[in-house]
Symmetry: C2
Subunit: 408 residues, 2 copies
């Protein structure tokens, strides 16, 4: 395992990188017998076209990209999006309509665009599979499906996800860059935080700090705390004041130039109890075990096993009563989305390859006594790595091996 | 028109507010002959359940809410989301599964939930209509649709949008609160910005400032500039240094407790030319005209007409060569999404009612001479208002009547 390196902002992606992507997609389309691929979701759209705009937050207007089996893709965008294409995309075949137009918000242009693709297998791929989000009104999609019959629409998303799993050096550089920004933000946290501040105040300051350090956006900011531990991994920060004996869990997904890092840190308020320190140690070691197991050629399920075994072994050695967390998985892919396939999951048989960027996220559950009876608590550590030719390399700066805390 | 008032953070929404919403939805469901309503998207989900989590950024796991024709809704969520429901929602009927499970990510639980609703019309509503986003894999949706046949899935989103258009006082208070935060951020901008800074630096500082002032998130940050004006309304901030003679356009959608404001400001670098000052004046007056036209009982198309006429009249009077911007509309609803129906559009016949929160956004296009020939430029002003019993009230603090600028 190689330590994370200091980074500077990577240069813009070259058109050649997009052309390579389209070439690989078209090879996969041939293998899947697709005449065309219809793309509507922000991440796939950016992967193919480079299109970069906050306008995805606005759901009024959809946008479409059609990848033919041969030749360059075209985009079909609202007329007020054409300048975004000119400024941020390499695609030059741009068709547009004035939107909003509820009677026909791009659908007839998409129908024409699909009809113009040479028909061989009568199959068009679209974003239908697991973890996908078709980013257009489904009523319009159902009408489109009828309008292009007998051409069939099948899932084209699994294929895209498989290709997207393997990151190019330029993609890895972006994840590494934003992971470095968030790592340094986390490292500065303890010295800036005081007992008595609220979850909300601490998280807002961290969020602002990440922007100042160069992150483009940090849309995922979980901050949650509790006495002797926390009980959820997905709560927004509340107006809860942090007191001695609390643990604060912060999980951040932040992006630079479209690419995300996604990892968490724990911080204790006041010197942590022996139990908390041991639980932290269990997870720190399980993270090491997960990173060590992440090697090219191995199924990702083995990474899950390594993390789960390490938690069980360390808990036994330290005589801790802990259980596996029912979180569904112990890590996942990261890239143009904060969570992408594959999953670090016992049934995910994806074989790791150089260029895959994943999170290693061992977790456990335990009980914390209270006046109201035992309270369910969770603990999760998380780091981001990229698979290399012979192992894995950290993209995050490793969490400290002992639980950090804010002194009274 | 009443001026914007100073706000403080509004108290949490009461359970009664959610119960009133469900009551109105169930009345509308009866009118639309729906046996049940299936909800999957963040905004509708929050409207009905209160469910509040950054986890919507993670597309791996879907979540579902079923509203029956009578009785309380139930939610079907991944097992690691149940604590979020306990902490942020009033719903107590919670069903869960361990996700990710690509073979069955909640679909069989949804099928059972829908089957348990008394069948009368054999119709279930789902998010299919204009501007909606079904927030689950569409492959799973198509399988669900087959599994519950002969029960038919029809659009239930138009109905929800109509109900959501009318904001309660508590909803208006949230939009007002975040609009006040962003207004003050905009007002502080000129004194903090220097010629020579980049779009990116200016926008990042503003974004951080809005968080410090109490916004929960500002996911929509457009910042774009150009000599003598800007050419797009949707570009992310670039590393472009702002020079004398530039205009910077910033458009922000930020949220507090789930509710968005959405408005923009323009700022000149160096004293603006006569032409720029007159264009600013045209749009400032057109905004006044739009606000004056926004009265209960009138179709929103009349607001469009008032804005469009005011632009045309003022441009003629000031002898400016401008055209209507091909932006599709001159404002829109705002609430749990930055853009919601209705549209300020000549064909939108939605009748304004007290409680509707909308943006007034007159726009125009003009040409700016350059060494490379005339360059297309846009100009848009935007404010947020709420319709009252006899007119409209500003939610934003009004933009200054003369173009603000940063002195050399």
């Amino acid at each position: 395992m190689v330590r994370s390196r200091r980074t500077s902002a990577p240069p813009p992606l070259a058109v050649e990188e997009y052309r390579r992507r389209v070439g690989r997609i078209q090879e996969a389309m041939a293998a899947e017998r697709l005449d065309a691929l219809l793309i509507t979701s922000e991440d796939n759209y950016r992967y193919v076209t480079g299109f970069n705009s906050p306008t995805w937050q606005n759901l009024t207007r959809p946008r479409f990209c059609i990848v033919p089996l041969a030749g360059d893709p075209c985009v079909i965008v609202p007329s007020n999006n054409t300048v975004i294409v000119e400024e941020t995309s390499w695609i030059r075949d741009v068709r547009s309509w004035v939107s909003p137009n509820p009677a026909d918000d791009g659908v007839s242009l998409v129908r024409e665009g699909l009809r113009a693709c040479p028909r061989r297998h009568n199959r068009v791929g679209a974003e239908l599979g697991p973890e996908s989000r078709l980013t257009m009104p489904v009523g319009d999609f159902l009408r489109l499906r009828e309008a292009i019959a007998p051409v069939e629409i099948v899932d084209g998303d699994r294929m895209l996800r498989r290709l997207r799993m393997i990151k190019s050096p330029a993609e890895v550089a972006r994840i590494r860059h934003v992971a470095e920004i968030v790592s340094r933000g986390f490292e500065a946290l303890a010295s800036r935080t005081r007992i008595g501040e609220t979850e909300r105040a601490v998280c807002r300051r961290l969020h602002a700090d990440l922007l100042a350090r160069g992150a483009d956006r940090g849309p995922y900011v979980v901050g949650t705390s509790g006495r002797g531990g926390y009980s959820s991994l997905n709560l927004p920060p509340r107006e809860r004041a942090l007191r001695q004996g609390d643990v604060l869990f912060i999980d951040i997904a932040a992006a630079y130039d479209g690419y995300y890092c996604d990892f968490d840190r724990e911080i204790a308020f006041g010197r942590p109890s022996d139990k908390l320190r041991r639980i932290y140690e269990v997870l720190w070691r399980a993270t090491e075990a997960g990173i060590a197991a992440a090697r090219p050629g191995r199924p990702i399920a083995e990474v899950w096993q390594a993390e789960a075994d390490a938690v069980a072994r360390a808990a036994e050695r330290l005589r801790l009563l802990v259980e596996p967390a029912r979180n569904g998985r112990l890590g996942h892919g990261v890239g143009l989305r904060m969570c992408e396939p594959p999953s670090v999951h016992p049934e995910d048989m994806t074989v790791l390859e150089a260029g895959m960027a994943i999170t290693i996220a061992p977790a456990l559950a335990f009980a914390e006594p209270s006046a109201d009876g035992p309270q369910g608590r969770l603990a999760v550590h998380e780091e981001n790595i990229v698979i290399t030719g012979d192992g894995a390399e950290l993209l995050t700066r490793r969490a400290p091996p002992e639980m950090p805390f804010i002194a009274e």
